[in-house]
């Protein structure tokens, strides 16, 4: 947007669930049913190698996908190193590694 007067309108940060595209979320739920079991505890993020070095937050990333906030999720997806430590610590048995792989796969299609 050109800012003739040096001002611009801020984009809303708010999640507009009705407008968001949920096909990515539906694909994830179908391919990795265990992803529905997340209780948001954050143990995956705490143990994450990538998360300790970058902004990567796997817990938040999958939640963004579930709400249809795809762009922000995609921006971070490549930071995962697929080490699978998150999978070991998840108390609900979410297949977190497969979740990331599935999301990457979807993007490649």
């Amino acid at each position: 947007m050109t800012t003739l007067w040096g001002y611009s309108i801020s984009e809303t940060r708010s999640i507009d669930y009705d407008k968001n595209d949920k096909t990515f979320a539906l694909y994830l739920a179908e391919k990795v049913p265990s992803s529905k079991l997340c209780i948001g505890c954050g143990s995956c993020t705490a143990t994450c190698t990538a998360g300790n070095l970058t902004e990567f937050n796997i817990r938040k990333l999958q939640m963004l996908v579930k709400r249809g906030e795809n762009q922000e999720a995609l921006n971070n997806l490549s930071k995962c190193m697929l080490c699978g430590k998150c999978l070991l610590v998840c108390p609900r048995g979410v297949d977190t590694r497969k979740m990331i792989l599935t999301l990457i796969q979807y993007l490649r299609k």
């Binding site: 708010s14 999640i15 669930y17 009705d18 079991l37 817990r59 938040k60 939640m63 709400r67 906030e69």
Partner: protein, 343 residues
């Protein structure tokens, strides 16, 4: 020896039956035309989905005992401790009962949802309470007033609980698991709908509860969003719009709903409050009657001979209410034995 029980909900019924079995005479006072209290408004129980009416009938059938005198459609008007350490209860039909001990099973009151005005209950079309949803389940019908099936349903946890602005800092304890149960029931009626629960914490305290929550997520595809509803509004075409923060993402979220279910909490009943006034009982800051000791004296009050059971002391699920009632019966039987031997 005789015990007067005030309140014919599950706690009162169970305690009456257990006392009667010990050979103790019981007068059970109930203001409504039938026993069962709030249980009568329930369709299925968590976590096993047992019929609430089945339990209600069992409790009612137990009252047909020669040692129990049931006073229906009767209110306890005036409660007094006599000089001899006994109790007299003046009834709304002018009858006067006397007993050696008093048991208060005065239950709870449901939070009045319209007090939480920003949620729009009584103002917008598609806002109902958890109790109204139970009634819809009983009638096996879940439709909007326009005759359509709702496509997106939201359950709002903690309505009237954990909210100091409306004067309730306590957790009502069983709304979380009720929401999980009801969400599953809605899913069975509406396989295509999108169902959300908006919660602050999921307090799955009972056996089988966490398992039910897990099943709700995995098998029934119920979505859980951590965030308290801040406000609901209605568009010109009567569409509900809600605003919460998705606190695990850290962004405000808005969405439309076709039906919003308010999980209303529990407050001290009028009966409990009146008993506190008339009998100089200790009261917890949240309005419920305070037990003599939180660990070892849960059924005793600060007054000798006055006992408590069920939701007169705190929000409680049915399982705990019935257990508490049996515990109170045991405590009362011991008390009566003690006073009769000291005479």
């Amino acid at each position: 020896m005789k015990v007067i029980i005030i309140g014919g909900g599950p706690a009162g019924c169970e305690a009456a039956y257990r006392l009667a079995n010990e050979g103790i005479q019981v007068d059970l006072i109930e203001k409504e035309s039938t026993t069962g209290g709030h249980l009568n408004n329930w369709y299925q129980l968590f976590p096993d989905r047992k019929s609430a009416q089945e339990i209600g009938q069992l409790l009612r059938a137990n009252l047909e005992h020669p040692n129990i005198r049931l006073h229906l459609n009767t209110e306890a008007r005036n409660l007094q401790k006599t000089a001899a350490g006994r109790f007299s209860v003046l009834l709304s039909d002018q009858g006067l009962l006397e007993g050696d001990a008093l048991l208060l099973t005065t239950g709870f009151k449901l939070f009045e949802a319209q007090r939480k005005e920003e949620y729009g209950y009584g103002i917008y079309n598609h806002v109902i309470t958890s109790v109204e949803l139970e009634n819809l389940f009983s009638n096996h019908l879940l439709q909007l007033p326009e005759g359509k099936n709702p496509k997106r349903i939201g359950f709002i946890h903690c309505v009237g609980s954990r909210d100091e602005k409306i004067g309730n800092c306590h957790c009502s304890k069983l709304c979380c698991i009720t929401a999980v149960k009801q969400a599953i029931e809605v899913r069975e009626m509406l396989p295509e709908a999108e169902i959300f629960c908006f919660y602050m914490d999921m307090r799955m305290f009972g056996p089988g509860y966490e398992e039910m929550y897990r099943e709700a997520q995995e098998k029934y595809n119920i979505k859980f969003v951590r965030g308290r509803l801040s406000e609901a509004s209605e568009t010109l075409d009567k569409q509900l719009v809600i605003k919460v923060e998705d606190t695990l993402i850290g962004k405000p979220l808005k969405m439309t709903l076709d039906l919003m279910v308010l999980m209303i909490g529990m407050e001290a009943s009028e009966g409990s409050r009146e008993a506190v006034r008339q009998l100089s009982l200790n009261q917890s800051p949240n309005g419920f009657i305070q037990s003599a000791d939180p660990h070892y004296g849960t059924n005793r009050s600060n007054q000798k001979g006055i006992f408590l059971a069920g939701c007169s002391t705190a929000p409680m699920n049915l399982t705990d209410t019935l257990t508490d009632a049996r515990s109170a019966a045991c405590e009362i039987a011991a008390y009566l034995k003690q006073i009769s031997s000291s005479k």
